[in-house]
């Protein structure tokens, strides 16, 4: 599903953030990516939806190199991914429903389909009754669940989450991670970055550890 081959990422200002990262993720596998802050977790995740370009090396997604795709192909690649962020990145001036429906509108679903699928996604994260609320009126845990609903609404084959529980207390964090585990059980490939090792140990998934841009031995 996903393959990193000797991937380097270097910035002019801050030097080399990732050096020679290589790993493979099978279809339907759930992987945690961990490491101290500044170890390069976010950078690694940003390379997959081409929010940043690789400096050297190669990334294959579904067997195709994403490192060299043109600007016009990027949107189509991103529609195959569900992205989840630490700060949720919800649009504050739109309702919960509208936020979740956004990927469907972008992909050109009919209004009928959009309504049905968005409600199904909201139902899955337990927020169907709050569809008319605005993000700011929701708690942090609820906002992240909206973010997750938005990431899965178009049924992408892969979910990428960057510190999804970074702003949440331990109890809510477990709840969110359990949600991921549930999606994984129905076959979604999941890559989650988290610095909270004690949390992710519970889930029995493969853990990749980044240290100063290098991938340490897998545990």
């Amino acid at each position: 599903m996903l393959e990193f081959n000797n991937v380097h990422k270097r910035y002019a200002e801050s030097g080399e953030i990732l050096s020679g990262v290589s790993f493979q993720q099978a279809r339907g596998e759930m992987i945690f990516l961990t490491g101290h802050s500044g170890a390069g977790k976010s950078t690694l995740l940003k390379l997959i939806p081409v929010m940043e370009r690789v400096s050297r090396g190669q990334i294959l997604f579904e067997g195709k190199p994403v490192s060299r795709i043109s600007r016009h192909q990027i949107p189509l690649l991103r529609r195959k991914l569900g992205l989840i962020f630490q700060d949720y990145r919800l649009l504050q001036d739109r309702t919960i429903f509208e936020n979740v429906a956004l990927p469907l509108m972008i992909a050109g679903y009919s209004p009928l389909d959009t309504g049905r699928r968005a409600r199904a996604a909201l139902d899955k994260v337990g927020l169907l009754r709050k569809e008319k609320r605005y993000p700011l009126s929701l708690s942090g845990g609820e906002q992240q669940r909206v973010g997750i609903a938005r990431a899965i609404v178009h049924k992408p084959p892969m979910i990428i989450a960057d510190e999804p529980t970074g702003n949440l207390d331990p109890e809510l964090s477990i709840e969110i991670m359990n949600l991921f585990k549930e999606f994984n059980r129905v076959g979604v490939t999941i890559l989650v970055a988290s610095h909270d090792i004690s949390l992710i140990r519970h889930f029995g998934c493969r853990i990749l550890q980044l240290h100063q841009g290098h991938l340490l031995t897998e545990s």
Partner: protein
């Protein structure tokens, strides 16, 4: 909140028509969905303009003034041109006869000239009539009567037909008249008409140049407004890009904003220009009546109105397109 309507529709239709609403016509459904999407974008962009009424009004007014200025000059020029063509049609040509030509010969010549196809009317003024007229009109009465002879030649006043409309045709006629043995010289007052049309030609070019400058003003003004709007919605753009939005999807609401500004500006310009004409119509008619002319100011024609709105929309939408394209380039990944 356009998506709310979409949602309502979805709910209303969902039960009985689940799945294909129009079986066998998938393209029709696609079109309907597209139409619904475009409509929701159009109305949501209009709603967004309403949210900042002052800024939107300013932009619309800048466009209105920038378009109304050259448009009103154009209307003014058009009206002057119509007037001056009236003047051309009513030329008088004065044919001065040689001093030794008698009144009978002059009168016969006048009758002969009237038979010619290019000449509509002639009027022979005898030497004596000429002298009497001159004594009556000018203050030379005493001076003239102290002369013991009549210094004036006979004159044939001549009106060409409407077919002699160009200066060239008029000059051809003059030359042929001058070749007649009885004729001393021919006078037409074309000089000022020529000067006027030269001035009008310059003014017309000037208006074009001026229009191009003001069109650039429209482009910059819409462009700047759209740029501010883009900056305000920067976060939203980044998010929808991450969700897989194409440039076209992101561009569309801004193109619609540009469209609304331009439509508003073009329509306001139309009202400004026609308002100006309305304001000037009555005094212009009075003035024309003093000169015995049937001239009245005319409003913008249908074609001119369509041109004003069309050019305004073209400028507004292309300015938006350019600004969004430029800003999206800046958001590209490194």
């Amino acid at each position: 909140m356009p998506k709310r309507t979409v949602r309502r529709n979805a709910r209303r239709k969902s039960a009985p028509f689940a799945g294909s609403v129009l079986p066998g016509f998938p393209w029709l459904e696609k079109w309907r969905d597209q139409l619904a999407l475009q409509y929701s974008l159009l109305s949501s962009s209009a709603a967004r303009l309403w949210q900042s009424p002052l800024a939107s009004t300013m932009t619309v007014l800048v466009i209105a003034v920038a378009i109304a200025l050259p448009a009103s000059f154009h209307v003014l020029l058009k009206n002057i041109r119509v007037t001056s063509s009236h003047l051309k049609a009513s030329y008088q040509v004065s044919v001065f006869l040689k001093p030794d030509i008698s009144n009978e010969v002059g009168s016969r010549l006048a009758d002969k000239l009237r038979q010619q196809p290019l000449i509509q009317e002639t009027r022979f003024v005898t030497r004596e009539e000429g002298l009497r007229e001159l004594q009556g009109y000018s203050g030379f009465g005493d001076a003239l009567s102290s002369l013991n002879f009549n210094p004036l030649p006979g004159v044939i006043g001549l009106t060409p037909t409407a077919s002699v409309s160009t200066t060239e045709a008029l000059e051809n006629l003059t030359h042929s008249l001058e070749k007649l043995p009885e004729v001393d010289f021919v006078q037409i007052d074309t000089q000022w008409v020529r000067k006027l049309s030269a001035v009008l030609a310059i003014a017309e070019r000037g208006i074009w140049g001026f229009s191009i400058l003001l069109a650039m003003g429209v482009v910059f003004s819409v462009g700047n407004t759209i740029r501010l709007e883009l900056e305000n919605r920067h976060e939203e753009i980044v998010v929808v890009q991450l969700l897989g939005a194409t440039d076209g999807f992101i561009r569309r609401p801004f193109l619609y904003s540009g469209f609304w500004y331009a439509i508003g500006g073009g329509a306001s310009a139309w009202f400004l220009v026609n308002g100006l004409v309305l304001l000037l119509k009555a005094p212009a008619r009075e003035l024309a009546e003093l000169y015995g002319s049937p001239f009245t100011l005319s409003f913008l024609s249908l074609e001119e109105s369509a041109f004003i709105i069309g050019i305004s929309v073209l400028l507004g939408v292309s300015a938006s397109y350019a600004v969004v394209a430029y800003q999206l380039r800046k958001l590209e990944p490194e």
